[in-house]
């Protein structure tokens, strides 16, 4: 039977009489955990920000038609040439429509799928923006803007105006911020767009869209899906892209493959499209953990040292405890408790320090053209890191305390009492 109150009582007395070493050891842990919390919060905050910049605007799965040469050339359909070796030169793709066949039934079908959070139709087309004598090439996206706002954080990037303003105006356009700058246009102004075939269409600017990626802001604008179809003179089922948000992003690659086969269409999933972002996040996580673990190992060595010294100082006490009936395990627990108390105190303080530093960073102004919605440095306050932090503090101090405690456990009281 372990008598905890006695063991903790002795451990506490040891710690209190060695206040200086106790505080030093605890501060080591505080430093390690504080640094971990701050770094983890900042790094993952940054990750989320960067992910948000691209990933949140990228659909989990995008369905579209690619212009490509048929894999099955006509010659292979002839039975006569079945077992021959056919050489075809200069294969060219057929000029087929970019339109998705059966787009509306596919949309209907997707909306009934339990894994799908939402599916929105888009019409993406090349366009020229005309203002006075300026003519700029770019992209025009016809979209169901309210549905887009529900499924992505596009709202954050509409710096002037709102999605509702676009929905309510059949001739409205959300103009890319770069385009607006170049043509010195703002909300309320008029702009003309010209299709590739030369048809000119007047639109009213109801909002400005700034994604933070110059490449996009300099070329891309949003209109209502119907408006885009009208500009191109196409019917209501003319849709070039279907964007799908899933409930579980991890399922994207598998679903993309399935639909690719099912609908005979191109499907690209978010992982494939943004492989490099995952790598960046992983490297930042790696740095966070490498630095934190290093700090904690240093703190662990500090605790190990202090307990080792304490055990040498307390040899006589250990011998007395054993002589009066404390078992080796009791003695080991006395020292492990000390380590864990140090770990707990230092760890809790470390969480507070980490939280304070995070709050400080969180309130540090950070304004950049590229990120219109960001005013301060990003911080992730996920409780997970606080749980990991305290568990890590307890675990590392336990390990640091275990070795000296084991030594204390095996001290032979007779040797000490004899004075050899």
């Amino acid at each position: 039977m372990i008598n905890w109150s006695v063991i903790i009582g002795i451990a506490k007395t040891h710690l209190l009489t060695k206040m200086k070493s106790t505080v030093t050891a605890a501060l080591g842990v505080t430093f390690g955990i504080g640094a971990y919390i701050t770094m983890a919060g900042f790094m993952t905050g940054l990750n989320n920000l960067l992910d948000g910049l691209t990933l949140n605007r990228t659909p989990h799965i995008r369905l579209y038609n690619e212009i490509e040469p048929s894999k099955k050339q006509p010659v292979s359909l002839y039975a006569d040439f079945e077992n021959t070796f056919n050489v075809i030169n200069s294969i060219k793709p057929k000029e087929s429509q970019k339109k998705i066949h059966n787009a509306l039934p596919i949309l209907q079908y997707l909306k009934t799928d339990d894994a799908v959070k939402g599916a929105t139709p888009q019409l993406q087309t090349q366009i020229f923006y005309l203002s006075g004598s300026i003519e700029l090439g770019g992209m025009l996206i016809g979209a169901d803007i309210m549905e887009e706002a529900r499924l992505s954080n596009i709202k954050d990037y509409i710096v002037k105006g709102s999605p509702e303003a676009l929905r309510n105006n059949a001739n409205g356009i959300l103009l890319g911020a770069g385009l607006a700058d170049k043509m010195t246009l703002t909300v309320g102004d008029r702009i003309q767009v010209s299709t590739v075939s030369g048809d000119i269409f007047p639109l009213k600017i109801v909002g400005i869209y700034q994604s933070g990626l110059a490449e996009i802001d300099n070329s891309q604008s949003y209109v209502n899906l119907k408006t885009a179809q009208r500009i191109l003179g196409q019917p209501e089922n003319y849709i070039t892209d279907i964007h799908i948000k899933l409930f579980d992003i991890e399922a994207a690659p598998a679903m993309a493959k399935r639909w690719e086969r099912q609908f005979d269409i191109q499907a690209i999933d978010i992982k494939e499209a943004n492989a490099q972002f995952e790598t960046g996040s992983n490297i930042r996580n790696l740095i966070t953990y490498a630095v934190s673990i290093t700090l904690l190992i240093v703190a662990g060595f500090g605790i190990y040292n202090i307990l080792n010294m304490l055990i040498y100082e307390k040899m006589k006490d250990i011998a007395i405890l054993k002589a009066t009936g404390f078992s080796g395990n009791d003695v080991a627990l006395i020292f492990i408790s000390q380590a864990v108390i140090i770990g707990f105190m230092g760890g809790i303080l470390g969480l507070l320090v980490g939280f304070s530093l995070s709050a400080l960073i969180d309130n540090t102004p950070f304004e950049t053209e590229a990120l219109p919605t960001i005013k301060t440095y990003p911080i992730n306050y996920s409780p997970l890191y606080y749980i990991i932090g305290i568990v890590f503090a307890l675990l590392s101090t336990f390990i640091a305390g275990y070795l000296p405690a084991n030594k204390a456990k095996n001290i032979d009281p007779v040797k000490i009492i004899r004075g050899t």
Partner: protein, 224 residues
Amino acid sequence: MSLVLETRNIDKHFYKPKDFHVLKDISFKIKEGEFASIVGKSGCGKSTLLYILSTMDTEYTGELFLNEQLITGNSKEELSRIRNRNIGFVFQFHYLLSEFSVIENVMLPAKKLAEKSQKEIEQNAREKLEMLHIGHLAEQKASRISGGEKQRVAIARALINNPTILMGDEPTGNLDSHNSENVFNIFRRLSIEEGLSLLIVTHDNDFAQRTDRIIEMEDGRIIS
């Protein structure tokens, strides 16, 4: 009368630095309430024997009985429990936990035993201290009292769990004659009034002469 302690053919060697037969065929018995002393020249193996009897040293051959139960070969945990419950030990050097108060030192073995409530333990500890005339020192730090006082605190600690036997390795070795006399009187009274068995190693002939029985050792043997 029942036996408190019995040894049968205990032998012990030290193997370092070279083989040394330190205890040779030790067999003797201590009866309940007996006050015995062990005497012998320096180096004859008295302390070594006492460490074996107190169950702290397990490297020997032969058999050791406590309250007529064989305890040779018991696990370390088991021996700790026996030590805690049945054996009080007083060293030549007082050996108190210097960071704890006097009363805490006395209470510690009872807290480990955990058979009584905190309140009862504290009351018992105070009674023991009173009995040894050091009740007024209860709240003092153990490092802030005199040698003679420390020795009495150590005795109080050895008695806190009402052991069946009290062992001492020259408990008066470091005390002046007055304090020495004092400790002897305490032992004497415990043996008569409480029926406590005592086994005390001593170099003090006067002390030994006044005990019930003298066990004399020479070169690792009991000669009388």
